[in-house]
Each structure stands twice: as C-alpha cells, then as structure tokens.
Symmetry: C2
C-alpha cells in the first residue's frame, strides 16, 4: 500500500535490533486519515468472504480494526492483554510470548463476542514473530469460528512470523512488507506480480 | 446523545455495585457505526476552538477518539497504562488510581507528541471517579498544552468525577449522563435547556 509505505519512509525510524518505530502514526500517536485508508484497504481485500466480525488486540490494533469494521459494517472485538488472568470463566484465552519484552501475556476474548457462527478477519498492527496472531488464531479455534483472513498493517518479512502464519494456510494480507532494516535503511519487499 | 442513550438502554447491563456494562459496543466489542457518530458529535461540539490534538487513554478511549480525530482532521495520542514505569525519560507521566480495580497505574505520553503549542481535546470512554481524566489533565499541564475541552462518552453523574472535573473549569461534554443505576434501572440525567 503506497500511502502507508510513504508514511513509513517519511516518519518511521529504525532503532538498533531491527526495531522499526512508527509511533508517530500507529503505535502511540495515531493518524486517523491514514488509519481510515488502512481500514478501507483491508475491507476491500476481504469484502467478498462474508466477514461477520473483526478481531484484534489492544491497543494499536484498534484504530485500523475499527475503520475496517466501519467499512465492512461489522463489529470489532479487541482481545485484552493481561500479565496473567485470574478469572477465566466465560473467556477464550491464549498465552502470547513477546520476544521484544521477553514476557508472556495472556490474551482473552469474552465468550459472549465470538461464536462458531462467526467468520472473522484478524487484524494486527505488526507482524514480527507472529506470536500475537497465533494467539488470536487459538482463540478463534476455541470459539469454533471460521478465520477468513489475517490483515497486518506492517510486516517485518525477515522475521519468522510470516512463515509461521503461512503454514496455517489462512490468507494473509500485509499492507507494508519490510524486507530488511539493515544499516538503518528501510527496504520493502518488492511487489509480487501475482497476489 | 439519543442514539447512544438508546444503545445503553438496549445493550447495557447493570451489575451489583453500580457497575454499568457496555462491553457489547464500547469496552470490549466495539460498534464502529456508533463510535463514528460519537466521534462526530465530539468534533461538532469542539470544532470552533482550534483543537490541534486529541488525547485519550488506552484502550477503550481509542475508538471514539480516532473518529473525532478524523472529523477534526487532527492526530490522536493515546496515553499508555503501566503498572509502574521504570524508564520515564522523555515521558509525561501521571499516576491514576482505579477505585474499581483498587490499584494505581502510571499513565504516560511521549514528550514527542504533546507540546505547549497544542490545544487539546481530552476524550475518555467513562467518567466515574474522574481519576483518569485528572491524570490526563496533569499530563497536559506538564506539556504546557492548552486544554480546550473534555469529551466523555458515558458519565456516571452520581459519582464524584463530574464534580471534580467541574472544579477545573474546563468545558465538559458528556454524551450520555447517567443519573442513577439504582434497582438495576438505568436513569439518565434530564436534558438541560441551556447547554
């Protein structure tokens, strides 16, 4: 997605350890105009597959997800993150390990908001090691919901997440795919001819 | 705001201890159409006062805030919540006590995203004891930013928050004001003739 790549080039900063900081428009400060374009792009890609619900994780997934939800006219559910859950009654839960923070968080979704009748689109802000999306997939499986696709705002294609998700067989649509951050240079994956 | 009050009446549930659950459309599952209407309503109320930035708190403030940001064409910043902050370099911080969870959280905003040149609109999903908004006001003060108003989606007018915020003198616009939840009945504050 050209507009997003331009924002990443212009406002993203590369920190040591292959960290891409995009907190001027996605992770801390949010650019609503860009997020609407991002949400519309996801909606456009998945509008024919009968999505009934969008599922994301707090907090940075919420903005792109609500705009996709608006465009598809479906509700959005965000999984909550907690160090550890004490009460798990009526919750679907999964444990997600963060390599950057080196800690595990439990994520959860109320059983009231996901059912086996749902066809869901998973949306997240970043795909790096893939643990967060795998956690969402586990929650979808617990609910018996059908996963129609995975929408990622920024994918670090050089980390293991993409490969892990491809093994699941679900359609993945990443709006910006970063091939490398070496030498503090942002290089995008070249567009494939066939999507 | 009539549409919001209808949603609260239809989908809200009252739990013991004056708790109003609205997680079908605001706190866990999000109704994007309603959130857009909410955001537009805030934008309409504060469109003449030169807002340069909207500030909210993760996670439930984000959806209404991004739609207000879209309508006003300004960026949104969400304060992050943490049990305790270890690194506070380059952060505005404030401690917020939650009466419901009986714990304090530090909230923070990067100094990169708030400045003394900003005129801000604070948005939050709930006003009960007012501690979260007071925390945001403290952060605004640290930044030297001007606060042009406070937008609240649902106010529990029978708790102390409203009175505490009124003392600050900033304009408060609550879209739904709940007078009482006694006997598990939701009663709204009667509309005032003069806004």
């Amino acid at each position: 997605m050209k507009l997003l790549e331009e924002h990443i080039r212009k406002h993203g900063t590369v920190l040591p350890g292959n960290v891409l900081k995009v907190d001027t428009f996605l992770n801390h400060q949010i650019d609503p105009v860009l997020m609407q374009a991002v949400g519309n792009e996801f909606a456009d890609r998945f509008k024919e597959v009968g999505i009934t619900k969008i599922v994301t994780i707090e907090s940075s997934g919420i903005a792109p997800a609500v705009f996709a939800g608006l465009a598809l006219d479906v509700p959005v559910v965000f999984a909550r993150k907690k160090k550890s859950l004490t009460l798990t009654d009526n919750l679907y839960t999964s444990s997600v390990y963060s390599f950057t923070k080196q800690e595990a968080n439990d994520i959860s979704v109320s059983k009231n908001f996901l059912a086996s009748t749902d066809t869901i689109l998973l949306i997240d802000d970043f795909l790096a090691n893939g643990q967060a999306v795998l956690g969402l997939l586990e929650i979808a499986e617990q609910a018996g919901a059908e996963v129609a696709g995975i929408g990622i705002v920024i994918e670090k294609s050089f980390q293991q997440g993409r490969a892990l998700l491809e093994k699941t067989g679900f359609p993945i649509y990443s709006l910006a795919r970063i091939a490398s951050l070496d030498n503090e240079q942002i290089r995008f994956v070249e567009e494939e001819v066939v999507q």
